[in-house]
Amino acid sequence: MRDQVILRVVSKITAPFILVFGFYVIAHGELGPGGGFQGGVVLASAFILYGLVFGLAELDAIVPRRVTDGLAGAGVLLYVVVGLVGIVSGYRFLDYTPLRVTGSESAESWGMTLVEYGVGITVASVMITVYREVSQAGAAEK
C-alpha cells in the first residue's frame, strides 16, 4: 500500500485526530460510555493504521519495540503507584483519598483519572505489540 498517495496522506492527516479522540474517550469515561480500555484501543488504532499503510519498519521507526515494551508495563505501574500512594499516606491500597483535588465540590480525585490513563497506556501498547507480532508472523509465513 506504499504507492497509494491518497492513503498515505489521509492516514498521516487523520492519525493525530484519532489520537486526540483516544484521549477524549479515556477522559470521557467518567461521564458517559468509554474509559481507559476503549480509549486505549482507539489510541492503538492510530498506530496500527500507520503500520498498515507505511509498513512495520516505519512503525518501528516511530515507536520502537522497547518503547511499547516499556509503556505496557508503565501503564500498570502507574496504576500500582496510585494504589501505593494510598498506603504511603496512611490509608490503604488503592484508596484515592490522598489524591483528591482540594477544594472541589464533586470530590473528583486524581486517582481515578490517573488510573484510567494507566489502563489506556497499557492497552494501547499491548495492542500495538499484538498487531506487530501477529502481522510479523503472517509475513514470515509468506
Binding site: 508495563g73 508503565a74 500498570v76 500500582v80 498506603i87 504511603v88 490509608y91 490503604r92 491500597f93
Partner: protein, 502 residues
C-alpha cells in the same frame, strides 16, 4: 507501616517487578530481581502467618482473622482480602515453593529458553506467582476468578515454552488452555448463580446470606458448577486430562510450580467454598458431596498411580503421580472430619515440597543429559550422587515411608477414614502407597543398579546452584517427616478453623 499492609504487598511486589522486566537487558538481572521479589513475598508471608496463627504466638491463642478492605471501601461493597488460619497456611506453601524454585531457575531457564526471551519469561513467571498469591487471599469470588485467570494465562504461555525441548509442550499447552478456560467458565457461571440469588460477591457476606437458601435449586446448581470448574483447575480425576502433557513437557521449573502449587490453589478454593462459604451442613449433609468426591478421589489415586508405573519419561511419571496425590487431598476433603482435613492440608504442604523438589531434580537431569527418559538415568547413582539421592529421598516421600513427610499425611488420612468408619478408603490409601512403591522403585533400580551407558559415562554432578535448591525442598520434606509439629500443627489449626465455621 508495612506490617499493616502485608496482604496487599505480598501480591503487589511480584507484580511490580513483573512490570519492569521487559525493559531489562539480557544476563542475570531479570533472574536476580525475580528472586528478590519472590523472597520478599515469602518473608512477608511468614510475618503474616505469625500474625494470624495462634500456634506461633506465645501463649498459644485462637487464630486471628485479618481483613484488608482494598481502597478502604466497606465490605461487602469493596473487595476484601481476608486471611485466616486456612489461607495463611496455603499462602505459606505458595510463597515458599515459589521462592525456592525462582532461586533455582537461573541455569535451568538459561538452558531451556533463548536468551532474548528470558526477561519476558520471568515477567510471565512473576505474573503467575502474583496471581496464585492473590487467589489465596482474596475474599471476593469474582476477584478469585480474575486472579485465577491471570495466573492461568501466564501458565499457558510458560507451559508452551517447553517447546524448545519438545514440541509436545505446545499440544499440552493448548489442551490446558481450552480445558482451563472451560473450567473457569463453569466457575463464573457458579458465581453468577450465587450472585443472582444473594446479590453479593463477598465470601463472608455470601455465607450469611446463603444460610436461609440451602434448599434453593440455583444454589445447588451453583455449587455443582463451582465444584466442576475447580476440579478442572486442580486436575481431579476424571478432569485431569490436561495435566500429564502440560506438566510433563513444560520447562522443569514451570512443572515444579504447577504441580507443587498451582493445582493446590484450586484445591484450596474448593475447601474455602465448601466449608466457609456454603458450610459443612450444606456441602456434606444436604448434598452427597462426600461420596461423590471420595469416589473420584479413589479413582484418581488408583488410576493415577497405575498410569505412572507405565511411563517411560521421568517428568510424565511425576505428572501422573500428581494426579494420584491430588486424589489424596480430595479424599481428605471428602472425609470432612478433623483428621481427614488435617491430612489433606498437611499433604498440600508436604506434597508441594516433595513434588517441586522432584521436578527440580528432573530439571537437573534435563540440564545435564538434555532429556528426561528414565532409561537414560542408568548408572547415574555414582555419577551424580547428590542429585540422585534427592531423587530417591523425594520418591520415598511419595510412597509415604515412615520418617518421610508423606507418611505424616497418610497417617492423618488413614485415621480420618477410620474415624468415619470408612475402612475401604483407608485401604485405598495403602494400595496407592503400594503402587507408588512400584513406580518409585522402577526409577531407583535403574539409577543405582544398571550399568551406565557410554553417553552417561562422562556425566558429572550438576552445579551446586541447581542441586542446593532441590535439596532445600527435599531436605525440608525429610525434616517435616521427622518433626511434623510445625507443619501438622498449622494444618490442624486450619482444619479446626474450617470445622468451626458451620
Amino acid at each position: 507501616m508495612i506490617r499493616n499492609h502485608l496482604p496487599a504487598l505480598i501480591v503487589i511486589v511480584p507484580l511490580l517487578v513483573a512490570l519492569v522486566m521487559p525493559v531489562l537487558g539480557r544476563g542475570d538481572k531479570p533472574w536476580l530481581l525475580a528472586t528478590l521479589a519472590s523472597w520478599a513475598s515469602f518473608a512477608m508471608t511468614i510475618v503474616l502467618q505469625v500474625q494470624v496463627s495462634g500456634l506461633l504466638r506465645n501463649p498459644a491463642a485462637t487464630p486471628a482473622i485479618i481483613s484488608y478492605p482494598i481502597g478502604n471501601w466497606q465490605v461487602p461493597w469493596g473487595i476484601e482480602f481476608r486471611v485466616d488460619a486456612l489461607n495463611a497456611f496455603i499462602l505459606l506453601v505458595v510463597a515458599m515453593i515459589s521462592a525456592v524454585v525462582t532461586f533455582y531457575a537461573r541455569l535451568s531457564v538459561a538452558h531451556a529458553i533463548p536468551p532474548e526471551r528470558v526477561r519476558f519469561f520471568y515477567s510471565a513467571w512473576l505474573l503467575f506467582i502474583s496471581g496464585l498469591l492473590g487467589v489465596t487471599m482474596s475474599g471476593d469470588v469474582f476477584n478469585v476468578y480474575v486472579l485465577i485467570e491471570i495466573s492461568a494465562l501466564a501458565s499457558y504461555t510458560l507451559v508452551a515454552m517447553g517447546r524448545y525441548q519438545n514440541r509436545k509442550a505446545l499440544q499440552g499447552s493448548i489442551n490446558y488452555l481450552v480445558l482451563g478456560t472451560i473450567g473457569a467458565g463453569f466457575f463464573l457461571i457458579g458465581v453468577g448463580y450465587l450472585y443472582s440469588v444473594t446479590g453479593t460477591l463477598n465470601m463472608a457476606d455470601l455465607s450469611t446470606r446463603l444460610e436461609p437458601l440451602h434448599d434453593n435449586r440455583a444454589v445447588i446448581t451453583a455449587f455443582a458448577f463451582l465444584l466442576v470448574g475447580l476440579s478442572v483447575k486442580m486436575a481431579l480425576f476424571p478432569l485431569h486430562g490436561w495435566l500429564p502433557d502440560a506438566h510433563g513437557y513444560a520447562p522443569p521449573i514451570v512443572s515444579a510450580l504447577l504441580s507443587g502449587v498451582a493445582i493446590k490453589v484450586g484445591a484450596y478454593i474448593m475447601f474455602r467454598l465448601a466449608f466457609t462459604v456454603l458450610g459443612v451442613e450444606f456441602t456434606f449433609a444436604k448434598l452427597p458431596t462426600g461420596p461423590v468426591i471420595w469416589l473420584f478421589a479413589t479413582l484418581a489415586i488408583l488410576v493415577g498411580s497405575y498410569t505412572a508405573i507405565q511411563q517411560t519419561s521421568l517428568k510424565r511419571l511425576l505428572a501422573y503421580s500428581s494426579v494420584a496425590q491430588i486424589g489424596y487431598i480430595a479424599l481428605g476433603f471428602s472425609l470432612a472430619n478433623e483428621n481427614g482435613l488435617t491430612g489433606a492440608l498437611v499433604h498440600i504442604f508436604n506434597h508441594a515440597l516433595m513434588k517441586s523438589g522432584l521436578f527440580l531434580v528432573a530439571g537437573i537431569i534435563a540440564y545435564r543429559l538434555g532429556e528426561s527418559e528414565i532409561g537414560a538415568l542408568a548408572g547415574l547413582g555414582r555419577k551424580m550422587p547428590f542429585t540422585m539421592a534427592a531423587l530417591t529421598a523425594g520418591g520415598l516421600g511419595l510412597i509415604g515411608v515412615p520418617l518421610t513427610s508423606g507418611f505424616v499425611s497418610k497417617w492423618y488420612l488413614v485415621s480420618g477414614a477410620i474415624d468415619r468408619g470408612l475402612f475401604p478408603l483407608a485401604f485405598v490409601v495403602l494400595v496407592g502407597s503400594m503402587l507408588a512403591v512400584i513406580y518409585v522403585w522402577k526409577v531407583v533400580e535403574i539409577v543405582y543398579f544398571r550399568p551406565a551407558s557410554d553417553s552417561a559415562a562422562k556425566v558429572t554432578e550438576a552445579p551446586w546452584s541447581l542441586v542446593f535448591p532441590a535439596w532445600i525442598l527435599v531436605g525440608a520434606s525429610l525434616y517435616f517427616g521427622i518433626d511434623a509439629s510445625l507443619s501438622s500443627g498449622l494444618a490442624q489449626e486450619a482444619a479446626r478453623f474450617l470445622l468451626s465455621q458451620s
